[in-house]
Every structure is written in structure tokens, then in C-alpha cells.
Symmetry: C2
Subunit: 413 residues, 2 copies
């Protein structure tokens, strides 16, 4: 049922491709773009002339350090920062932050706020989110009409269309259609993204060498989350955001998980599980939230001497290793980024993880699987939301389907 390609789609797609090439490459010349896209110079010339005229791209002659070559110097093309703006909202445990980002990807304003997400009633939680966005949009330095997209990120499960939060560990509330709420409130298209997916998106932009076609981002925090990129594209479930790595089964009928079930990977490797194990509490003990400082202290103790703390990290590593082994059986091994506060304790986790993965089919060449760590997840999530929103603007607003293109070309420098 895939649909045919019309003649006008052609221009649309090639426009999108040029924009995307510029966003990826920074300041490519027309010749470079022609090379990477495979289109002819004439076409690139025509499209970029359009884009410059519409104020989406600018010519940046500022490429002095090139020189030293014969021939006419290349003219770098860059994204016009004033072409549009996007706004990100990241909601995490007891913490809310927003940022305004210009079209070139630079943060131009931000605001953060503490709040008790675990106990707030539904209307308050929604209200605070709406209020902080409104404050940013009312900033006199900001041209509201240029804000073309809102992207919200949250820890937990979202639906596969990125419209609503279905479930989250940071609140007992469920099924909040944040995307619809924000759209109705501000009249700006919005999405509700899963935090780990956004981490993966951000990594892809930060380090495209390492994180390109296939890789995994795992959040080691209160819960265990995963963002998965396969064949260059973000992998999502068929109904939800999917990739609930933390709730793959490690030991059938095993330790109590925060999700209410038993034996999930998270029930051995989540912060609360490590804590519970280190404190020699029962595996049936109710999960509790553990502060980052406490986790760091726990890791320090585990490094100091062998004892229940070290054993707790060992068990976490084992659960993660067998879980990754099962995952790798499905998708083949890929580079892994460990993100979050417990990623700072990865030295304690890694030996058991590697030992476990080596016992699985997916870990055939376990020594060659490489792990990278990044203790702070929030900047990654924000960055991912920003890039998600910006690429939406690139594709859907600046290379629109069949809508009138009038009105989108604005803010000419």
C-alpha cells in the first residue's frame, strides 16, 4: 500500500535532503552537498538559492581557514539561526526544565524548576508544565511566531506516535496526552518523546562516528531504560515507545520490580534494586527511590572493600549482561552507551556484565563489545529533544508536502 511518488514530491524530498546535509555537515559548500546527496550541481544550486531566498539558509563566507587551495573558494552554507526556533521540555523526577533553541541548534534561553512530581495531582503537574512553557514563550527577547515546534521528553512509556505519556515512574498518574495539551494551549505542533529514545538521538548527533547505524543507549538510574537505533533509525515499539529493556525477564518469578512484576532486569539493576541488595533487604521489599548522592556513596563503599555493596553491583551487572545477551541474540551486538548515575559506577558493573554476556548467544565476541559511559542524562535528553524538533522543522515545515509554501519563508536576515 506504499504510495507512489508524484512529481512534486521530488522537489520536496530533495529540499529536505539539502537542509539535512547542511544540518549534519555544519557549513558544507554546494559542491560538498552535491557529492553527498548524489544530485547534480545545478540542482543543488537551484535548491539552495531557493532556501537562501526564503531565509532558511545563509551563505557564511566566514570560512577563512580553508584557503590555501587554488580555484574559486567554496562558499559555506549554514542554517540561518533566525529561521525558526524550537522549545524543549524535559520532565524528570522532581525536576522540570525548558529550553529555547534557535534553528542552528544553539540554546538561547532556559529555565529550570523543582517540583514534587511523585505527589502532584494531575492538574497541577500539567499546569506547571504549561506555565513554564508560557513564561518562556512570553520572553520579550523571543519572537513567539518563530517557535515552530515543541518537544517534550519524559522518563517512562509514551505511545508510538509520540503524543502521550502512558506510564511514568516519576508520577503515579497515567495517560497524559501532553502533546495534545501543549498544542491546544499554544497552537504549536508538539510531541511527547521517551527519554531514552532522545538520549539515543542525541548520541547520534554528538558522535556520529561511534553512534551511527546501530547502537544502544541504556539509562542506569532509578529505572532501566533503553533507546535503540537500528539501521540508522530510532527503533520504537508498534504501539508504545517500546524498547523496555529494563522489563525483559532476567529471572522468572524473581525479585520484585517497580512495575509490580517479578524478575525484570530492572529488579536487579535499577538503583532501588542495587540499594535493596546492598542493604541486604529482601528481594520482595518495596522499591524506594534512592537519591543520586546515596548511590554515589554506595558505589564508593563498594569500591573500598568487598562486601554486600560490591555484590549488589555484581548482581546488577549479571542481570544487565544476560539481558543484553538476549537482546543481542535478536539484533546482533552493537556499541552501547551507559547513561545515568549508575553509569558512573560502571567499573563495578562491567566485570559481571561481561562474564554474563559471554555465556549468551548474543555475546559471541563479547570482548569486542564496547561500552561508553555518560553519568548525566539530562543534557542528553534535552539535546535529543532539540534535534528531534529541529529535524521536524527541517522536513515538515521547510520542505512541506503540498501545502502552500507561503508563510513559511520568514525572518529573512
Amino acid at each position: 500500500m506504499s504510495v507512489g511518488i508524484r512529481h512534486d514530491d521530488l522537489r520536496r524530498r530533495n529540499r529536505a535532503m539539502v537542509i539535512s546535509a547542511v544540518r549534519r555537515a555544519g557549513q558544507p559548500s554546494r559542491t560538498e552537498i552535491a557529492a553527498t546527496t548524489g544530485l547534480s550541481h545545478s540542482t543543488i544550486s537551484a535548491i539552495s538559492a531557493d532556501l537562501i531566498q526564503e531565509g532558511i539558509l545563509t551563505e557564511s563566507k566566514a570560512s577563512e581557514p580553508t584557503a590555501l587551495k587554488r580555484g574559486r573558494p567554496q562558499i559555506g552554507l549554514a542554517l540561518n539561526p533566525e529561521a525558526a526556533a524550537v522549545l524543549t521540555v524535559v520532565l524528570s523526577l522532581n525536576f522540570l526544565s525548558v529550553a529555547v533553541i534557535d534553528y542552528a541548534g544553539q540554546v538561547v534561553a532556559e529555565e529550570q524548576q523543582r517540583l514534587d512530581t511523585l505527589v502532584m495531582p494531575r492538574d497541577d503537574l500539567i499546569g506547571e508544565c504549561v506555565a513554564i512553557v508560557r513564561r518562556r514563550l512570553q520572553d520579550p527577547d523571543l519572537d513567539v511566531s518563530s517557535v515552530a515546534r515543541l518537544a517534550m521528553g519524559i522518563q517512562g512509556i509514551t505511545d508510538s506516535h509520540a503524543r502521550a505519556m502512558l506510564w511514568s515512574p516519576i508520577t503515579p498518574l497515567t495517560d497524559i496526552p501532553f502533546a495534545d495539551i501543549l498544542e491546544q494551549e499554544f497552537g504549536i505542533p508538539a510531541t511527547m518523546e521517551n527519554d531514552c529514545n532522545m538520549m539515543a538521538v542525541a548520541l547520534q548527533w554528538r558522535d556520529p562516528e561511534r553512534y551511527r547505524d546501530d547502537f544502544i543507549a541504556i539509562l542506569l538510574s532509578h529505572g532501566i531504560g533503553m533507546g535503540l537505533v537500528l539501521k540508522g533509525a530510532l527503533f520504537t515499539g508498534t504501539h508504545s515507545s517500546g524498547g523496555e529493556f529494563g522489563h525483559m525477564i532476567h529471572r522468572p518469578g524473581g525479585a520484585l520490580c517497580r512495575c509490580g512484576r517479578r524478575g525484570c532486569v530492572e529488579a536487579y539493576a535499577g538503583n532501588y534494586a542495587i540499594w535493596r541488595s546492598a542493604m541486604k533487604m529482601s528481594e520482595d521489599a518495596e522499591p524506594v527511590d534512592v537519591g543520586d548522592a546515596d548511590m554515589r556513596a554506595l558505589a564508593a563503599k563498594a569500591r573500598e572493600k568487598d562486601g554486600p555493596e560490591r555484590e549488589a553491583y555484581r548482581r546488577a551487572g549479571e542481570a544487565l549482561g544476560f539481558g543484553l545477551g538476549s537482546l543481542f541474540a535478536l539484533i546482533d551486538p552493537a556499541p552501547v552507551a551507559m547513561v545515568g548515575v549508575s553509569a558512573a559506577a560502571f567499573d563495578l558493573i562491567e566485570p559481571a556484565l561481561r562474564a554474563a554476556i559471554a555465556q549468551t548467544a548474543g555475546g559471541q565476541h563479547s570482548e569486542s563489545i564496547s561500552f561508553d559511559t555518560e553519568p548525566n542524562e539530562l543534557p542528553l535528553i534535552r539535546e535529543g529533544c532539540a534535534m528531534r524538533a529541529l529535524t521536524f522543522v527541517d522536513q515538515e515545515i521547510f520542505a512541506p508536502g503540498m501545502q502552500a509554501r507561503a508563510g513559511s519563508g520568514k525572518n529573512v536576515a
Copy 2:
């Protein structure tokens, strides 16, 4: 790095789309094709005139039963059976079969053969495969030059480019580049496909209502295999054929698996595992191949009275249930087809499977997950290979990139 769309790609893609629409719909009229593809009537008219002229499609006025409508009757378009042919090779335990299929998908010739795959030396195994293909190609009824593609299917792991068998349970041999071998021998493009992937492809063609965008085909046989379709496309690993569901970890350090590791799903749910368990053998006992007749007898005994046989199936169901639960945590639930000899014993497996999956995050609405069974996998594998090869011909040969189109239009009726 995705490449731009050139002007000539346009026609190519739309040609491919028309062919694909005809293959899917059977005998659609030009108007129907225009509707499903979204292209204009003029375009469809022009493209189908080309395709008819080249002998790829034919007009089949044979649609008498339509009638009863006013207006000019539709002219059905059909694939010209003589436009090309493909050849499938299915290699399974002690069994080799080939079939020649015409462009419309009808089997025109087949041949089968027993052989001792487990003990054959490398050259003999390859030699037998080549020989049986050669015999079919030398059939005087067949125009060799019309054979446009070979597709071979094998139980086991293949590489992600469908070129080579990497590992298979039917032989101790590894890394046989069957695709290259066949191509060199016969000068016809070939692929080496994973059996379960082909089962999934076949199901998608057989019952597109049920098996469309997202579904799972699981082979319950000597080993446990899986073919996975996500968002309408066959899912493969990044390096191998992937989807080694049978080697996800059910119980860390548990029963001995045929792969040499411990605790895999297959070590509880493969035929040998069920047999081992029913015979009250140790979980460390070396896996043995069990005949289909023995498995059917075992299932009969399990149905008759409660005992170790029934318990063995229960355990298999549990392993499959927890495995599916972990899988569903990643991709969300989807319809499942159980294929293979033990699928005929699914009545014995299902209760424990459902009980297990209900204990997992992926089994949230476990009662709504539906299972279908199909005891005979070989026809499915062959069908999948055939469709794979035919769609390749559709896309790469009859809607070629920039190659000269001369020489592909042949066999005009």
C-alpha cells in the same frame, strides 16, 4: 547520507509500484492501481502500456464474474507467467528440495531428495545442492534464460546480506557462501535466506489481513527460530539474519542448549528439550535429534494423562512465554504464528505459555494476544523463498536502476 532522488528514479519507482500492486492484488484494473498508488490514471496507463509491451504484464479480460455493473468494464492486469521464472532451494535436516516457479507464482516443476546433512562433508553438501539445481535448470521444458533469480532457504543463521550460511543445526559445517557459489555456478543472482524469515514472508502473502505490519513467526521444531516483521518490513539483525529468539536467555545458567550455552529458550522448548524433559533425563544431557513421529507420539501421550510428558510441554510453554514476554517488552505484542511439528502440540503448550506471559511486562493484555498454528514449515519456507525471489525480479530486474532496459523485456506472449 541518504541519497537524493534523481529524475529517472521516479519512473523506476513508480514502475516497481505498479508491478507490486499487480502482484498483491491479483488482477487489478488500471483504475484500482491508480487508487492504491495515488498516482494519476494517465501515469498508470502509460506505465502499464510499457509493461504490457515489454511482456511483463498481460491484460486478462477473463474477469467475467465481475459484470453486473454499468459502465465500461475494467480490464484486469495480471503478471505474465512467462515473463520470468525463479528457482527455490530449501535445505533442511536430511532433506533437500527445489522448485521452479513462474513469474505469476505458480510452481512449474519440483524435485526432492533425502540426504544425510549431519554427516556430509563440505564438498558433498555443496555438490548435491548444485547438482539438483543443475538438473532442474536442464529440464527441456524450461527456458533457462528466463530464470532470473535463485533463492535458497536454510535453517540456521545467515548473514544480514543474505549471502552465506554462517551456522546451521543441520550440519556441523559453518560459513558456506551458498549465494556466491550458486551465482558463480549458474550466473544467476542468488540469495541465502534464513528459514524463519521466509516463513514470515510467506505468511504476509498468505494472509495479509492477519499478518501485515507487525507479527511474529516462531518455528517450534528441533530448534526454535523466529521470523519477525515490524512496520511491514522483515526485521534482520545488523550482521546476521538475527531474531535468534530461541537463544534468548530463559534461565541464566540453566539447561544445556544445542548451541553449547545454558538456559536458552530452546533448551526448554526445542524438540530435544521437550524429549529430554519427558524422558526425565538430566538438563545437562547432550541434545539429540528427535523424529517428527516420536514427537507426535510424545504429544499424544501427554494428552492422554498427566505425567512427565505433559510437564515437559508445560515447561516448554513457560520458556516460550517468558521469552515472548521479554520480546514483547521490546517490540510490543503482536500476532504470533507457531509453525513446525511442535506447533501441532500447541494445545499442550498454550496454557503455561499464557500464564508465563501474563507475568511479564510485555504480556499486559496477554489474553488478547492471538496464536495461530501451522504444523508444516517446509511449504511456508519454499513459498517465502519464491516470493522473495519474485519481488526481487519485480524490483531489480523489471524496474532497474539506470542499467539499459534492453534485454529485460523478453518472452512476449
